[in-house]
């Protein structure tokens, strides 16, 4: 058996083991009730981890770069801004009377529209320059955040507390019907990405070689950007951004780069599978530690962000030294 296959097998076994621990640890009282509750939480974690892992890996493939992630390009900040605008315009009272499914659709739809326009322009515009891309992404992130902070200053303090709660990723209060939608969307996107895995390998050679080898580059990149946006929007709309108020999240970066280390090579079939497993493992492990050690006193994002942010700095420093 080749190395990547062994690694994937070990990862899969570990994920199953952690999932079993997560489901059964410390169950008191009614087993049916607790198991159903935890199963829903487990599914939400798997959906979010899968969405972030897959979207980050394919985003990095089309960007030709392992530091860029949808989040670093301002995605999470956009979500937080949207939430703030909703609260600002509608007020929490009216907002809570809106059908959550409608809200979910509007959030996901708005993010999809924004990001497709922004990323299409960045990736398919006349001049492609990685540094410009990174700069524009970070500037947009800060811009969204600045706008959000401004709105939060003028908002009613009571509303602000409600808003704050909405802005931190939480796997505890996920609505079952939204979870179903998110699962279907993520599953569908994964299926499409899986069918494109050979073409994704070719995209690693860069734009010119991809065109030379017969890919319809523009169409393919547009499609991938839509899929990435769809996945991130749905995951974020489901549980909120992993990092709360900060303009960027490092979780995707952490997942993708741990995967590249564990599974060297270019085959997207293996890398994507590995990334999904690593993502679930990190998020599930983080949630478990959070619940058992900190007694829910913290948000899961804080643990993953610390590790991911450190990794980002190391990668930047190594990139500069080279």
């Amino acid at each position: 058996m080749t190395r990547p296959r062994t690694v994937l097998l070990v990862l899969a076994c570990t994920v199953v083991a952690v999932a079993v621990i997560f489901m059964t640890l410390d169950v008191r009282g009614n087993w049916d009730y607790v198991l159903a509750l935890r199963a829903r939480k487990l599914l939400a974690i798997c959906v979010v981890a899968t969405a972030i892992a897959v979207s980050t890996v394919v985003f990095q493939t089309i960007a030709g770069n392992r530091i860029l992630t949808p989040s670093i390009m301002g995605f999470d900040a956009l979500y937080a801004l949207l939430q703030t605008v909703f609260v600002f315009v509608l007020g929490t009272a009216r907002l809570s009377s809106v059908d959550p499914r409608l809200l979910f659709a509007v959030e996901a739809g708005a993010m999809l529209l924004f990001s497709v326009l922004l990323y299409r322009w960045l990736f398919l515009g006349a001049r492609q320059n990685l540094h410009l891309l990174l700069l524009v992404g970070v500037v947009f992130g800060l811009f969204f955040r600045g706008l959000m902070v401004l709105l939060q200053r003028v908002i009613d303090p009571n509303e602000f507390v409600v808003l704050q709660d909405r802005l931190f990723a939480s796997f505890n209060g996920v609505a079952p019907d939204l979870l179903l939608v998110a699962t279907l969307v993520t599953g569908g996107v994964c299926l499409l990405v899986w069918r494109m895995r050979d073409r994704l390998d070719v995209l690693l050679l860069g734009r010119d070689q991809a065109i030379n080898l017969g890919l319809d580059y523009r169409r393919m990149v547009s499609l991938i950007l839509i899929l990435v946006s769809l996945q991130v929007s749905v995951a974020t709309a489901l549980v909120g951004p992993l990092n709360g108020f900060e303009p960027i999240s490092f979780f995707g970066l952490l997942v993708a780069n741990v995967t590249y280390l564990l599974i060297p090579g270019f085959r997207h079939g293996q890398v994507l599978t590995g990334a999904v497993l690593v993502g679930i493992l990190l998020l599930l492990g983080g949630q478990l530690v959070l619940e058992q050690v900190f007694g829910l006193g913290s948000a899961v994002g804080i643990v993953t962000e610390f590790v991911g942010g450190t990794m980002f700095i190391i990668m930047l420093l190594r990139g500069m030294a080279r």
Partner: protein
């Protein structure tokens, strides 16, 4: 046959390729020469659909490159640009195997692998076929990319300065190989070249470009003259035959010894 008709491309206000019309037949090696900024690489990029033209068309065996399906074109026409960067760690063999993608869609059969091995052998890459691209010298990497294009096995092959990081031995053997491919297998090989001597000695036809236009185009023997070359490079160039080879000489400022002559002529622009 590659037919180019009225091809124009500009960046902003600067016209880089200006109404070029050309016919490049199959069989034989065509060299494109010209000073920096003459539009050679842009012309190659337009002909290979890497760039979109503002006006004009390029057809390859009757297929319009701007409209035909990429998949279909990838089995007829291949292109290699000067700069290539891979976002993942690949071995030389992995890279060359990608050349078979248009034929195999990623699932290589044993006959496909035979193509890959043949291309590796052609370019002397077998000893390093398991090395990672980022561990190789620029010249080795360049040869790996050429091997990839060869394994793609198309009737038309376009190269943008494939000799740029090769030493003289590998440059000469690369040109031999490209010329053999064009002659024995009836491929059309189009190469943008910097070195006029190499162009003269290996190309069957030469296209000379200046300021985005074709200054001359024809069989090497007809266009390899001092007058033509001087007209595109703006310095006096003379063409000699020495032991059957073309040799070009150019006027040295202050004569062959370089001594106290007039000041070197600086070409304006560029």
């Amino acid at each position: 046959m590659i037919e180019i008709d009225g091809l124009t491309k500009s960046y902003g206000r600067r016209i880089v390729v200006d109404g070029v019309s050309l016919t490049i037949p199959r069989g034989g090696l065509t060299g494109i020469i010209g000073p920096n900024g003459a539009g050679k690489s842009t012309l190659l990029g337009l002909a290979s659909r890497l760039l979109a033209a503002d006006r004009g068309t390029v057809t390859v065996d009757g297929l319009d490159v701007a409209r035909a399906s990429g998949e279909l074109l990838a089995r007829r026409l291949s292109v290699l640009k000067q700069e290539n960067r891979v976002a993942a760690r690949l071995t030389v063999r992995d890279l060359v195997a990608f050349g078979r993608y248009p034929h195999s869609r990623g699932r290589l059969s044993s006959s496909e692998w035979a193509h890959v091995e043949k291309a590796l052998a052609f370019l002397d890459l077998q000893p390093i076929s398991g090395s990672f691209l980022d561990e190789l010298s620029g010249g080795q990497r360049q040869r790996a990319y050429v091997a990839m294009v060869l394994s793609q096995d198309t009737d038309y092959m376009l190269f943008d300065e494939p000799l740029s990081s090769l030493d003289i031995r590998h440059a000469v053997s690369m040109m031999h190989l490209l010329r053999n491919a064009s002659r024995s297998f009836g491929k059309a090989v189009v190469v943008v070249l910097h070195d006029i001597n190499i162009a003269a000695n290996f190309a069957d036809r030469i296209i000379g470009m200046k300021d985005g236009r074709v200054a001359f185009h024809g069989d090497t023997a007809d266009v390899m003259t001092g007058a033509f070359l001087s007209s595109i490079y703006d310095i006096p160039i003379r063409v000699h035959r020495l032991e059957g080879q073309y040799v070009t000489t150019y006027a040295l400022p202050g004569g062959p010894e370089g001594g106290a002559g007039e000041d070197p002529v600086l070409v304006a622009g560029d």
